[in-house]
């Protein structure tokens, strides 16, 4: 029906069509960019009405604390999505790198700082492998990153013998649990790290050549190539960025849980995709903002925090997560159809 109207408009007069189209586009952008904000506010209102403990400083801090690791992983995933692909190895990257750091510290007597450094290098190497397989060997991203996911899953179990490594030295708390500004109203370092990374990468995505080229690749890989962009190189770069950020997420998680286990980072690859898409990043690439991914992550964590406080059974939470994803994407598809 809506299509009929636009086609009718297009034919009645050149000039009015153009105005009508931009107005429509502008309205579309407005609702698209702010839909997630409205959703977050709505959730907040509902939950604070339902349970008095929701809108307390402690709980809000807790929500942000829970967001840290997945929030950092989502930055990398959002970049990969912007280039038109996705990375299924990120969750197990988080797991294997945090296990590696814990193992180095606990069993090899490694300096914690060196261990963290090594873990991040390992994460970047996983990303480089992904990027190389995809752009130079031309293996589809689904297969390459799924393969790496399984390899990481196995390596993590080999390193830890599948048993948790608890009890981290105090240095590790610098990456997550240490409170800046006093015990009572302090902000955890993990939250500050995440927010800092978002600020840096929102800037990188919009204001640097790297970011612009990522958008260009996602908008049209061929057109990017014909504009002289070294698509293969940037493909490797985006996966190594995602890999490095996932490893950093792994360290933050290690700090928060004070232990590494093969269950760490479980399903983060999908949660990060879900958060990005709910936030408004296009699955086909080239469109969306890193800030939207952040809002998506906040929304997801808020959603589960509230559900848990309301004593909703975890199995039902899973059902709702799926429903929210389908609903968010469904709205987007219907909106694009209207154009």
């Amino acid at each position: 029906m809506r299509r009929d109207i636009t086609s009718f408009l297009r034919l009645t007069s050149e000039k009015s069509t153009k105005q009508a189209l931009t107005l429509q586009v502008r309205f579309g952008r407005l609702t698209k960019n702010y839909a997630i904000v409205i959703a977050i506010l709505l959730l907040g209102i509902i939950f604070s009405c339902a349970t008095p403990d929701f809108l307390t400083f402690l709980n809000i801090r807790n929500i942000f604390q829970q967001t840290t690791a997945i929030g950092i992983v989502t930055i990398g995933q959002a970049f990969v999505l912007l280039t038109g692909q996705f990375d299924l190895s990120l969750g197990q990257n988080v797991m294997v790198t945090s296990c590696l750091a814990a193992w180095l510290i606990k069993f090899e007597g490694c300096n914690p700082w060196v261990a963290v450094f090594m873990a991040i290098i390992a994460g970047i190497l996983i990303g480089i492998t992904n990027g190389y397989l995809i752009s130079y060997i031309r293996i589809p991203c689904f297969i390459a990153t799924l393969g790496l996911q399984m390899i990481c899953m196995g390596l993590g179990r080999i390193i830890t013998n599948a048993s948790p490594i608890p009890g981290m030295p105090s240095t590790i708390s610098v990456f997550g649990t240490a409170l800046i500004g006093g015990v009572k109203y302090g902000i955890p370092t993990g939250v500050l790290i995440m927010l800092g990374l978002y600020i840096i990468f929102i800037f990188v995505s919009r204001k640097t050549k790297l970011g612009r080229n990522f958008y260009a690749m996602g908008g049209g890989q061929e057109a990017a190539y014909f504009a002289g962009i070294d698509v293969k190189k940037y493909r490797v770069l985006v996966y190594s960025l995602a890999g490095g950020l996932a490893a950093l997420g792994g360290i933050v998680l290690l700090s928060r849980l004070d232990s590494a286990a093969v269950t760490s980072g479980n399903a983060y690859e999908f949660d990060s995709i879900i958060a990005s898409i709910i936030g408004g990043i296009s699955l086909s690439g080239g469109k969306g903002k890193i800030a939207q991914a952040f809002l998506g992550v906040i929304f997801l964590t808020l959603f589960f925090n509230g559900m848990t406080m309301l004593n909703v059974h975890p199995f039902i939470q899973n059902v709702l997560k799926g429903a929210v994803l389908i609903f968010a994407v469904g709205i987007d598809v219907l909106r694009n159809k209207g154009r």
Binding site: S7, S13, Q19, G228
Partner: protein, 472 residues
């Protein structure tokens, strides 16, 4: 679209012409049941008909052969012809009858295709034949063809025209849409001109000439379809010696001078685009020399060629030339992004400034700099592609099919732009399948055949016949 009425007589070929956005596609989509009309009547075989869905339209004997094929690529020819209309026997698919019927249909049109072959192994022309057979199999009485010749080679076109004439002979009515006016004079009985969603006129083709038709389409008299300026060719900027690429290019040698438009003519697949790709480092070269401004160059990657001063306006504007979902300014600044970066940071101010400058200089019609290029007309989109290379300040620009799918009026603007570039001292190498365009605006013409250069002509001595004789 506003109160368009026209009638088509049974068993005739009726051409529909108009610039982009004139309403041709909308009209077809209404006939095909994809869009709904607000008002008006469609009378077919004396009865008023109305289609809510494409299926209803097909059942009443309408069929549309779209520009983009609607075939299942991995299925066989026979399966495609019977798609949605399978023949059953005892509740099972009756392959034998279907293959026989498909063969009979193809034989009727005089086409030689193996009915068991998967469609993706066929050439574009043959795919179109399959599409036509599919329509006939749906008992089609009125066939709408939307720019069927756009992606065909000259030889394939001849075959398709013969097929269309055969269809006419068996009583099928054809509505033929095309940008190429020559075809209309060649093929059609009547022609209807649309402009801005309104019908301008319906005339027998025998009563109009090319000039009249164009002025009806554009709504004003075009002074000249091909504005040619005279330049004095300067020094040789590019010299190519014995360029070879196994099975693709054989001993390509030519020179390009400052201040001239060098055109590459030839059939589709004769290796014209491949010459450009080899020089630009997109494809590898097996042997040969490229001398550019007195220096031997060999581009390993396309971006090396760009920094050396080369540019390319590619053949496929929508997927190679532009990022459709990005804005006008993002597209313009895509190649020379370094120019808008200050101390590692993209400056929105510089981006606006440069884009605005080019939008004004090239008269790009766009609602704003931030509008997505997908909403621009073909001509304006092409100007955005050209702007990318102006911003890069490339010295030598390859134009591959610069006016494909662009309106007559906008074409003239593109030619003027190209002229302006030559005046500034740029080297222009144009690849084109449109002979009138080549004859109209180039200074020197190189003709290619089967991956080799088959001849070179100066503008003064060139004629359509001479070029065609070198093409085959």
């Amino acid at each position: 679209m506003d109160s368009v009425s026209f009638s088509v007589e049974r068993g005739t070929i009726h051409a529909l012409v108009g610039e982009n956005g004139a309403g041709k596609s909308t009209l077809i989509k209404i006939l095909a049941g994809i869009y709904q009309r607000d008002e008006g009547e469609i009378i077919f075989d004396g009865k008023s008909v109305s289609f809510g869905t494409p299926h209803e339209s097909q059942m009443s004997g309408f069929s549309v052969v779209h520009q983009e094929m609607k075939l299942s690529e991995t299925l066989s020819v026979a399966e495609n012809i019977f798609l949605g209309n399978l023949v059953y026997r005892h509740g099972l698919v009756d392959w034998k009858t279907m293959k026989e019927k498909a063969l009979a249909l193809l034989a009727m049109l005089g086409i030689d295709i193996n009915v068991n072959q998967p469609v993706n192994e066929l050439s574009v022309a043959k795919k179109q034949m399959v599409e036509i057979c599919k329509a006939l199999n749906h008992n089609c009485k009125l066939l709408v063809m939307d720019e069927p010749s756009a992606s065909l080679t000259e030889r394939e076109q001849t075959i398709m025209f013969a097929t269309i004439r055969k269809l006419k002979a068996v009583g099928v009515t054809i509505v033929y849409i095309s940008h190429r006016l020559e075809e209309i004079f060649d093929l059609a009985d009547n022609v209807t001109v649309l402009r801005d969603g309104q019908k301008i006129d319906t005339l027998p083709v025998s009563e109009v000439d090319r000039k009249k038709l164009i002025s009806l389409m554009v709504g004003r008299d075009l002074v000249s379809e091909y504005p040619k300026e005279q330049f004095t060719p300067g020094e040789v900027v590019l010299e190519v010696k014995n360029l070879n690429r196994a099975n693709v290019l054989h001993n390509i040698s030519f020179t390009a001078r400052k201040g001239e438009i060098l055109a590459f003519a030839g059939l589709v697949g004769s290796g014209r685009t491949e010459v450009a790709r080899a020089i630009l480092g997109i494809d590898k070269i097996d042997s040969g020399e490229i001398i550019y401004k007195g220096r031997r160059v060999r581009h390993k990657e396309f971006n090396r060629a760009i920094s050396n001063g080369f540019g390319l306006v590619p053949e496929d504007r929508k997927s190679q030339g532009l990022i459709l979902i990005h804005s006008v300014s993002e597209n313009i600044c895509m190649v020379n992004i370094g120019k808008i970066i200050k101390r590692g940071v993209v400056s929105s101010k510089l981006e606006q400034m440069y884009s605005d400058d080019f939008v004004k200089k090239l008269h790009i019609v766009t609602p704003s700099l931030s509008a997505e290029v997908q909403y621009l007309s073909g001509g304006n989109q092409q100007k955005v592609v050209i702007a990318k290379w102006l911003m890069q300040d490339s010295d030598i620009i390859f134009f591959d099919e610069p006016t494909r799918g662009i309106d007559v009026g906008a074409k003239v603007e593109i030619y003027r732009l190209i002229n302006g570039l030559v005046r500034e001292g740029k080297v222009i190498i144009m690849i084109s399948s449109e002979l009138p365009e080549i004859l109209g605006i180039s200074d020197r013409i190189i003709v290619m055949h089967d991956g080799a250069i088959s001849g070179e002509l100066m503008r003064q001595e060139a004629t359509q016949e001479k070029i065609i004789s070198m093409c085959v």
